[in-house]
Symmetry: C2
Subunit: 340 residues, 2 copies
DNA sequence: CTGAAAGCGCTAACAC
DNA sequence: GTGTTAGCGCTTTCAG
């Protein structure tokens, strides 16, 4: 139960002043000391197993060397790769990260921004923004840089990293079209999320382009991006009685849920109906049927977001790209077959 | 870019002393102030959008209200539920957590313990301990409580939460035995990990009990708990030429890898060979064949670990259980069929 | 080259 | 009831 050694302890031990110890231990100031003193100090520091106290340092320097990562839910397999992408650039720079889960609840999101702010984070990667958040713009204008990932905040001063969502939907549709599908249903995510909206808009646009009718019952809006909603929407689709040979889903979870529900209605994927997803989440690796989907670069998105954040934290004046669009990729597996 | 308001600002605004402001804002001391002052102070605090600075608070009180969570890899779907379990008890108590990934590298584990220690965490949940770690016992004896999860540290003063691993293996074996399997191979995890060792020992013990021969080529040792090792071990097993009708795997990833490799050798699961896993990791939800496995209570383990940690952080004198063994459960799905 | 002193924002004795 | 003071561990002027 012996307390951590402090600069003071080393100072006492070596008979020099604490500020001298501080300098001796700082590579940037070490040079203006006699090497004899530096030697004695570093030796004592080692002996006492000295660890700098980052709390005190943070109080003094106004930099906690901590960043906040806001995500909906770490248990959603989309997010761990993003987190690791972020950390792979921030950890070497000496930052630690505090990850908070909003569970997509606006009131939690709000509270968590406060939590991070109280803890004096030097920056925030926000991958769960629901909409333009007043609190967020306040923290941002108080000098804590924020970068948005995946979802748009609607706040112009916040740089965002997004995937080429529209093009992803386009690729999926063209793939279905190439396989002869003309009656394509769409299970959309909630249009309240920027990803939900973008994918929906892109679906409609591409219906026009491909001269596919996008009349009402063929577009079903999910309330959440999850399996149970995929199931519900697929059932609604079946009940509508409208004919369809393919279902394009706004994300993988919706697709998996839909595939299950369709099967209950005697529609097997891919034999009776083709289904596509979006995201290529890691959990898909083991899923069956092997889902044809659009791969978004999760790790890379995290990496890029962190790079931009690091740049802002380092030098707020240095310009960074407002908006980074990451390329997506169609991953052809076996949930799509030729239309009959 | 206006700085955060401090107690000093509120003091200036309201014309009282900072310590009065501090008291007015602290529910525990509010009562010894006139309600008039309390009112004025809280009003001013609201107006200035005051947020307590936890860094300063931490420096003063020696409590950062931060905990460290050490895991091998957040991208492994075993860990997010554990993390959420931990946070579901610690977050309401006001703690934030710093999650670090060791990638099972001893040198990283070592460094990360330092990182957490520098940041003055009030406690650590260690779910990635490789062995008795000198650094860990030092931080522990410096007054920072540690609790081990899943793996044993070998340090007696560190409480541990483990699953009833031996019994899990027993259940899996009995299940296989009940289905008529007598030639059961075992793909073991690395015996350097406590889980690897425990499961291996239990397999041997239950071979004796069930009078199943456990001779050498039927036990294959994986170097890591991952899919590629599962594949490699299954291939080795096939090459050995020894007959077997079932493969019991020390975890789900090994099982999934093994199933894939067996298929390449013309052995289909469950028709030609039965396979069981261990853990019931979330990613299994979508996997096919639906793997029969042993479910460990990941969220609950996190919860219990956090409760014990919270108790230690709150009052180090209050006794806590040295060792908590969580019950496991056999989850019967469809990767096991009757032996032919 | 090194020491002295101030102060980051906050709490906790101790006065009054 | 409220103000004063000191100090947590550190960096950073400013002296010398």
């Amino acid at each position: 139960m012996k307390a951590q050694a402090t600069l003071k302890d080393i100072a006492r031990e070596t008979g020099v002043h604490v500020s001298t110890v501080s300098r001796a231990l700082d590579p940037n100031f070490r040079h203006l000391l006699t090497s004899e003193v530096v030697g004695r100090v570093t030796a004592a520091a080692d002996a006492l197993d000295y660890r700098p106290n980052r709390i005190a340092l943070g109080l003094r320097t106004k930099r906690s060397m901590t960043v906040g990562i806001i995500i909906p839910d770490i248990a959603n397999s989309m997010f761990p790769p993003i987190v690791r992408g972020i950390e792979c650039v921030l950890e070497p720079l000496g930052y630690a990260s505090i990850i908070v889960n909003t569970d997509n609840a606006p009131e939690r999101e709000n509270r968590l921004v406060d939590v991070l702010s109280e803890r004096g984070v030097d920056g925030i990667v926000h991958a769960a923004s629901l909409r333009s958040d007043e609190k967020l713009s306040r923290i941002e204008s108080s000098g804590v840089p924020v970068v948005a990932l995946n979802r748009s905040t609607g706040i112009s001063s916040i740089p965002e990293i997004v995937h080429d969502e529209s093009y992803g939907i386009e690729l999926a549709m063209r793939h279905l079209h190439d396989f002869g599908h003309r009656r394509i249903a769409f299970i959309s995510g909630p249009p309240t999320l920027s990803t939900g909206l973008t994918r929906l808009e892109s679906f409609k646009l591409n219906c026009d382009r491909l001269r596919i009718p996008a009349e009402s019952p063929m577009i079903i809006i999910a309330e959440r991006f999850d399996e149970s909603e995929g199931k519900r929407c697929a059932e609604e689709l079946c009940r509508s009685g409208h004919p369809f040979s393919a279902v394009l889903c706004a994300n993988d979870l919706l697709a998996l849920g839909a595939i299950g529900a369709l099967k209950k209605h005697g529609l097997h994927c891919p034999d009776d109906v083709s289904v596509t997803g979006f995201n290529d989440m890691p959990a898909l690796e083991f899923a069956s049927p092997r889902l044809t989907t659009i791969r978004v670069r999760k790790f890379e998105a995290g990496r890029r977001a962190a790079e931009i954040l690091a740049s802002r934290m380092e030098d707020p004046k240095k310009p960074v790209p407002d908006r980074t669009v990451l390329p997506i990729k169609l991953i052809v597996r076996s949930s799509v077959s030729r239309a009959r």
